[in-house]
Amino acid sequence: MNKRSLEASRKRMTVYTYIALILGALIMVFPFVWMILTSLKTVPESMKVPPTIFPQEMIVTNFGDAMKSLPFLKLYLNTGLMIFFRVICAVAFSSMAGYAFAMLEFRGKKLLFGVVLVQMSLPSQIFIIPQYQMVAKMGLANSIFALVFPGIVSAFGVFFLRQTYMGIPKEIGEAAYLDGCTQWQTFYKVMFPLTGTSVAALTIFTAVFAYSDLMWPLVVNSDLNMMTLSSGLATLRGQFTTNFPVLMAGSLLAMLPMVILYLIFQRQFIEGIASTGGK
């Protein structure tokens, strides 16, 4: 094969790759575009068959209606607090447990780590009833604590950070020990700062998961003022009829903080998800 034909075949390959990527991007973006367009339609038009793509009559009142039907500020605050505490807890406890599993020798280490793995491999839904009972018995249903509760300890976080700590040479910990660090100082002065990338990944992963968590907030907090964005939006769906334009307008409003965060931390988001193998 001569040089020119090699170059041509490479170019052709690039074109095919781009076509595939563009198709993929269209499939990914379409629901978002549909959501935006629907939020600008009237109720009859949103249910019209065959559906129209662009709104015949553009209206923005749906956003006002959505804000009237849901206490958006409260929902933003609740979601924010839930994410904040879940992230803090996941990072703190997973780091400590991950460090212990990777670096320390203690009786029952394998068994305990086995328990973590089992918890990770089971679907979280099966824990919902016992977890609800625990929260209810503590009398803490309809509270921020209730929203945070299942995220206090993250089995995935423990596993993920254990792997990270295992990747750090043991000599660094030993050097710190010889330099005069206690076990705790070795952890927080030397080892923890070395897990920055993984902690960032875990933060993003936990935040995204908490933001999109619907089932637990819906179960544990029935008071609209204590709901999160996802569970609040779910109340907009009626049993018999649903006002789709208002629901879409609400969804768009709920999405905004995450979109803004994504635009700011785009690089960290991508790195984080790539390093966890999450998606």
């Binding site: 000599e171 030993e174 050097a175 710190a176 020990y177 010889l178 330099d179 030397v190 070395l194």
Partner: protein
């Protein structure tokens, strides 16, 4: 600045639960390495006795798995001592925390803190001791000066080369002005050229700082060039302790003889003969009377005539023009090293290496040999090492 006494130090790694079960099933202990395995576990270091004088440079040397690093780690306090006593400056420190032993260690992998700058790395142990800021600054800058890393103080370790990183690791150890400085194969991660350079740096460093050094290596060149005394280890046991010259000239056994010296000592199956009260060795038609000092040593130990393993260093083998009373060898490979040629030959069924200079004293080129050529080899009675069937030097 401290004297160390290691009295019968032993390290036993207990069997894990799984191993115990497997052992019980099989009925007898399994032996993967040459380390002794008992009911208690694998014995990594056995009855290690050594007195280290103040400011002495001791090198522990031996092949992988001989227990040298384990010994060092026990001195550091990173491994528990299973048996025996460790004294630093007369104080028993078996159960003393590493930070209270006043020792510092340099690791093979440098073990620098990646998130801290060179300055912070070196200041870290001092900060932990809550030392005055001005004093920390003085010590760090002084150490940086000694190690010639002043210009890198603001850099992170990843922005440094291997040699510079090792200097920082040494710097972090010496800022504390420890009683004992432990070094665990500090040059193994460096390339050959840098290793030679750093070896010289360590010799210079030793002259600048007053402390006791314990240095672990598997490289006999490092051991010979750095140590005041060398401790040669194998399978958890000390084989010999002595100055570099002593262990080179008078190896205690075949292992030490083969381990120290490059290329390795040549060994022959030979006979030790005694006639008229004089000892001689005889190998493949070559009979050599031993030198007076060796005669005296063997006589003192009343060594009888017997089959022995004879050791002669490659540089002590001499080419002879005559064929009488010589050992005949046939050349298999000739390695040209520039100023000398290493001939790998076969003599009396054993592989031998002979080092021959390429020029004589007058600067004339010496005729070289090719594969298959015959060599007539001789050696003097003063360079013979006589080992008994158990591998021990019969002179000891």
């Amino acid at each position: 600045m401290a004297a160390l006494n290691l009295k019968g130090i032993t390290k036993i790694y207990p069997h894990s639960a799984g191993q115990k079960k497997a052992k019980r099933k099989k009925g007898e202990p399994e032996k993967k390495t040459n380390l002794q395995v008992t009911d208690q576990g694998v014995i990594a270091v056995q009855k290690f006795d050594l007195n280290i004088a103040d400011k002495e440079f001791i090198v522990l040397v031996g092949p992988s798995g001989c227990g040298k690093s384990t010994t060092l780690r026990m001195v550091a306090g990173l491994e528990e001592i299973s048996g025996g006593e460790l004294y630093i400056d007369g104080q028993l420190v078996n159960d003393v925390e590493p930070k209270n032993r006043d020792i510092a260690m340099v690791f093979q992998s440098y073990a620098l803190y990646p998130h801290m700058s060179v300055y912070e790395n070196m200041a870290f142990p001092l900060k932990l001791r809550k030392m005055d800021k001005a004093e920390i600054d003085r010590r760090v800058k002084e150490a940086a000066e000694i190690l010639d890393i002043t210009q890198y103080l603001d850099r992170k370790p990843k922005a440094l080369s291997g040699g510079q990183r090792q200097r920082v690791a040494i710097g972090r150890a010496i800022v504390r002005e420890p009683k004992v400085l432990l070094m665990d194969e500090p040059l193994s991660n460096l390339d050959a050229k840098l290793r030679n350079q750093m070896r010289a740096e360590i010799i210079k460093l030793r002259q600048k700082i007053n402390t006791t050094f314990i240095y672990v290596t598997h490289d006999q060149t490092e051991a010979m060039t750095l140590g005041d005394r060398i401790v040669i280890m194998k399978d958890g046991f000390i084989q010999q302790i002595g100055t570099p010259q002593e262990v080179f000239d008078h190896p205690a056994n075949i292992f030490v003889a083969g381990f120290i010296g490059m290329p390795q000592m040549n060994f022959f199956d030979a006979q030790l003969e005694v006639s008229g009260g004089k000892y001689a060795v005889s190998v493949g038609g070559c009979r050599v009377e031993l030198s007076a000092d060796k005669q005296a040593n063997l006589t003192a130990h009343k060594v009888p005539a017997q089959s022995i393993t004879l050791g002669v260093r490659p540089s002590h083998m001499v080419l002879s023009k005559e064929s009488g009373n010589t050992l005949t060898a046939s050349v298999e490979v000739a390695e040209m090293m520039g100023s000398e040629v290493h001939f790998h030959a076969n003599a009396n069924g054993r592989d031998v290496v002979v080092i021959v200079p390429t020029m004589d004293a007058k600067g004339e080129h010496i005729d070289t040999f090719h594969t298959g050529d015959k060599l007539n080899l001789t050696f003097s009675g003063s360079v013979c090492h006589v080992f008994g069937k158990d591998g021990k030097n019969l002179e000891f």
